[in-house]
């Protein structure tokens, strides 16, 4: 064991970082693949169907088969499309979705880059994901793709504001922009987790997260019934696979952020023996699975929103709610003796 640690420490820093990045991205991409499988299975059972069950036992090899199919499929490029931007767009969608994982703390010691303003970093990177969508819609040179991109852009910009304000509430309560510090501020048991004092912000953040990732019931950007498949209608093969990967990586990212900021991160629900024996990593991943399941549940349950209703919900309901609650937090903490509620 000792010699392993010694060789590890003698490796160049670049190589150490590369191994760490691989240790995050490998499981992430694998979980994205099985998240799609889970989605199909969960929605199938909710619809009283069976879901994929042909490839491998219980259909467990289905995502592998899908990946192989997409990798060997021909990438068709429309003649009138913009040649460079058409290929850059999927990369622009995927890169921020993966890069944001660099600052996610998986437990009190497992974090790749423990930077001071990690919350802002995540917010900045997720706001860049919209470029992949816009560029794809424009470069395809197709009306369907363009309409999808316009819808997605307007929706993401609208809900990003509500999301940002919900995060302002969290950092007022935690007094830090660092994700690890935010989780540490919630230690001590389930009653310390921020979803109780910041319940309105928690709800706004979760719903905005669903809207931000263009998932049902807010998936008008794909809108199969009106605009075929939205911004990625002209993509096939690997290009389509990258958009898919980006969407699911973003869903997992939003789930991870919800867990870190509102559900206590790696903290156990009670600080008593049977719970504290479980390592923090498992608490984090378990909570992440629950939030990620909500995404699938929403998709199976709710009918799609109409576009004007989406805009109304974002601008006229969520933003006022978050602003009022930020005011409430500030007022209670400064002018009343009950400031401890929001700490």
């Amino acid at each position: 064991m000792d010699w392993m640690i010694q060789t590890w420490q003698q490796l160049p820093v670049i190589l150490q970082l590369a191994v760490k990045i691989g240790l995050i991205l490998g499981p992430l991409i694998l979980s994205v693949a099985y998240y799609t499988y889970l989605e199909r299975k969960v929605i199938a059972y909710m619809h009283v169907r069976v879901g994929p069950n042909r490839v491998g036992p219980k259909g467990l090899l289905q995502p592998i088969a899908d990946v192989v199919k997409l990798m060997f499929k021909e990438m068709i490029q429309p003649t009138k499309s913009d040649h460079y931007l058409f290929f850059i767009a999927p990369v622009l969608a995927l890169a921020p979705a993966l890069a944001a994982w660099a600052v996610i703390p998986f437990s009190d010691s497992l974090v790749l880059a423990d930077i001071d303003a990690s919350l802002l970093y995540v917010l900045a990177l997720t706001s860049m994901g919209v470029y992949g969508v816009i560029v794809a819609g424009w470069a395809s040179n197709s009306k369907y793709a363009f309409l999808g991109a316009m819808r997605a852009a307007a929706q993401i910009v609208a809900y990003e504001i509500a999301m940002g304000f919900a995060l302002v509430g969290v950092l007022m309560a935690a007094g830090s922009l660092n994700l690890s510090a935010i989780v540490q501020a919630q230690s001590g048991g389930i009653h310390q987790w921020y979803f109780i004092p910041l319940l309105p912000l928690f709800v706004v953040y979760l719903i905005s997260g669903v809207a931000e990732t263009n998932r049902a019931p807010f998936d008008v950007a794909e809108g199969e019934s009106e605009i075929v498949a939205g911004f990625h209608v002209d993509y096939s093969g690997m290009g389509f696979a990258l958009f898919f990967l980006a969407e699911y990586a973003n869903m997992l990212l939003i789930s991870a952020l919800t867990v870190l900021m509102f559900l206590g991160g790696w903290n156990p629900p009670l600080e008593i023996p049977p719970f504290v024996w479980v390592p923090g990593l498992f608490w984090f991943l378990g909570k992440l699975c629950i939030v990620a399941f909500l995404f699938l549940w929403f998709r199976a349950t709710f009918p799609r929103y109409r576009y004007d209703q989406i805009m109304r919900l974002g601008w006229k309901v969520f933003i006022p709610i978050t602003l009022i609650w930020i005011g409430v937090i500030g007022f209670v903490r400064v002018f009343t003796p009950y400031g401890e509620i929001f700490r």
Partner: protein
């Protein structure tokens, strides 16, 4: 040459190259995308200066919000390059004079000697736990609170003015009022008619 200076020169080359592309590329959408690359490289350079709060805010505000809206507009407008070229020679003298004046002004400031490396002390590197977000906040809300609040007020006025200028009430557009939709009762919409057998509905009323 340290690793940091290599990083700086790469980022600076990308920044200068993409700004040149912004003004030289023909397609306005691509110009906007190069401007995004510009902002991003500038943010990266700020990070090498340990100004991570400013850098991330630049990405968040300009790349994540302003440029998205900008692209949104540019993509929907059908900009005719030929038509825009027509005025080029006509406005060239005026443009050249203004550009010349600005170049001279910048040169006067830069060459005045105030920005020589000897006059500006090299900033000391801060320890790892130094939070420049906190320092910036402390400074903004104490020493510069008046300027900060005034700037906020001006921005608010600008927002209100922008909305007031563009708001048009269009009575012919039919809006739905969600509150009325929610409050509607069964009795508002539905009338149960008891029709005895052997009669038609018209006979009962």
């Amino acid at each position: 040459m340290t690793l940091l200076s290599v990083v700086f020169y790469v980022l600076a080359a990308v920044l200068v190259g993409s700004s040149a592309m912004v003004i030289s590329v023909r397609n306005p959408v691509k110009a906007a995308l190069f401007l995004v690359l510009c902002f991003f490289s500038a943010a990266c350079i700020w990070i090498t200066l340990e100004a991570e709060f400013l850098a991330i805010t630049l990405v968040l505000v300009y790349v994540g919000a302003v440029m998205v809206l900008f692209l949104f507009v540019v993509m929907m407008l059908d900009i005719d390059i030929v038509q825009m070229r027509e005025g080029f020679t006509r406005y060239l003298p005026v443009g050249a004079v203004i550009a010349g004046i600005m170049m001279v002004e910048i040169a006067l400031v830069v060459l005045s000697g105030r920005f020589e490396l000897d006059n500006v002390a090299r900033p000391a590197g801060q320890p790892a736990d130094y939070s420049n977000t906190r320092e910036l906040g402390l400074l903004l809300y104490t020493d510069y609170v008046l300027a900060f609040e005034v700037a906020g007020l001006i921005l608010l006025v600008a927002i209100v003015a922008a909305i007031a200028l563009t708001l048009r009430r269009r009575p012919e557009t039919l809006y739905q009022k969600p509150s009325m939709q929610v409050q509607v009762k069964k009795s508002d919409r539905l009338r149960v008619v008891d029709v005895p057998s052997g009669t038609r509905q018209g006979d009962v009323e």
